[in-house]
Amino acid sequence: MIADLIIALVFIGYAISVLMGFGTILTWVERKQAAVMADRIGANRAYIRIPFTQVKLVWWGLFHGMADGLKMLLKEDFKPRTYDSFAFAVAPWVVFTPVLLVFAVVPFGGTITPAALWAPLAGIFGDRSWPMQITTLDAGLLVVFAFSGITIIGAMLAGWSSSNKFSLLGALRAGSQMISYELVLGLTVLGLILIYGTLDLNAMVRHQSGTVLGFLPAWGIVYQPFAAVLFMTAAIAENKRIPFDLPEAESELIAGYFTEYSAMKMGLFMFAEFIEIAIIGALFTTLFLGGYNLPYMSDAGFAFPGGAALAMPHGAAVVTQLVVFLAKVFVVCSFQILVRWTLPRFRYDQVLTFAWKFMLPLAIVNLVATAVIVWAVQA
């Protein structure tokens, strides 16, 4: 009992620090990557001076994120005279909290046996082992969709309660766009559920540690390349980033549904967006890129296609899995930023046409084809 509590607290602490870390680092990565892609240098002037010395730590502008956070905390928190100040105050949190909660079912490592890591820990934990995941739910993927659906309510609340026409228009756009793409997102993932036969994300990752055709790693992207592209597109649209940032289109709507927000409340919207990039990265990694495992790797070690095997000690396996998961998530995040700084924005009618007339039929075709093939293979 107490062991379960300790493990849960450690995992929750790890998950929150990873997400917050990603949220902070990604603001910097986005700036720097955009700058390098555009032959620029990027933010590089903020520094921290070590007290009582003239040593200034610049570190490639890493401290600009801290400067921004400090600025947002110290700015005036302007409140518009709105008819629903409670909804106005609560909306950023309705956007922010579910984004964090989604990570509860995402496995960030294999199983961990504390006693095998360090013998004295056996006194508390016995020889039990835990999957590195905050909650092991059979309905993992459903929980992901349930929580990410709440974000829509936050965006709508923010737009409604701002008493501002730009905000309202932005909220309407956000609502219709997110609901449309949520549908596509769910349909693309259904194919994977058919193949893996489970909704539990950890079981999905274990399923992906084998091989297909003898040599390819059995990753979701190998089984369902089409679904991977659709999932990525729908996820970016769901996160309201360019090329789908119609709810926040600056040239038309100032900042869309959070036009009236200032200081740290606006910061929460931005932060939620950056954390959602990391969440999309984590989901994409888990569903399509083999999760926390390297190719041919499982909890016990490597099993290469030629028949060679390499056993790994438990500690090395745990550390490798944690690091590999973070690295894969980071690569997917970086890819999303690449997309964001490459493509121009859609027109608004194009966004919904794209969702309903292009992506949805494709997702359904993909699902039907997968179902037929799975039925044929099993029969």
Binding site: Q33, A35, V36, M37, A38, D39, R40, I41, V229, L338, V339, W341, T342, L343
Partner: protein, 193 residues
């Protein structure tokens, strides 16, 4: 009101999209390859210790085409004995459109050639418009402008005043009008950290 149906204007260079462009995905991948390629090239340059950007780090670096005749910080010239060439005639202060020059004249009976000299010579760089009229007006070639700008970011406008000492002793890297005379041996040196 006319009831003619709206006819869209046809341009001679109307964009023609074939089926390949209409699938959209290959073209996106091509775009991503371009931006990703630029990213990889620049990142490789940065990681091998070269500059992967076209930007000039401005105050530290200047561009190769930085204007040679740029009107920057003022320089007070000196006579060979080290005293300022300025005779405190106030013509620069009079002509100055921004009224940033303040001169307090002094009298030195020992120097019969030019008995009048500036006790104070101050320029308020927070208001200076760098028009160069003071240089034009000076009858004695006592004030010039070097091409370097006064790098004076300050958190208080009172820190943006430069006095006689700084204007006299500031050694610019270059002076477009004439080579700047080397400081005489006995001239007081001020350490500008």
């Amino acid at each position: 009101m006319s009831t003619k149906p709206y006819k869209r204007k046809q341009y001679w260079n109307e964009p023609q999209m074939g089926w390949y462009e209409r699938i959209y995905l290959p073209e996106i991948l091509r775009g991503l390859a371009i931006t990703g390629g630029v990213f990889a090239r620049n990142m490789f340059k940065w990681m091998t210790g070269r500059k992967g950007a076209l930007t000039t780090y401005y105050p530290e670096e200047t561009r190769w085409d930085y204007a040679a005749g740029n009107r920057g910080k003022h320089v007070l010239t000196r006579r060979p004995d080290g005293s300022p060439q300025c005779i405190a005639c106030n013509m620069c202060a009079t002509v100055c459109p921004a009224k940033v020059i303040e001169i307090e004249a002094g009298f030195d009976p020992a120097d019969t050639a030019h008995p009048k000299f500036p006790v104070r010579f101050e320029i308020d760089y927070s208001r200076c418009v760098f028009c160069g009229l003071c240089v034009e007006a000076c009858p004695e070639d006592a004030i010039r402008m070097a091409k370097e700008v006064p790098n004076l970011p300050a958190d208080d406008r009172w820190n943006m005043w430069l006095g006689k000492a700084e204007l006299l002793e500031w050694q610019p890297q270059s002076d477009v009008a004439k080579p700047y005379p080397p400081a005489p041996a006995g001239a007081p040196k001020k350490d500008r950290a």
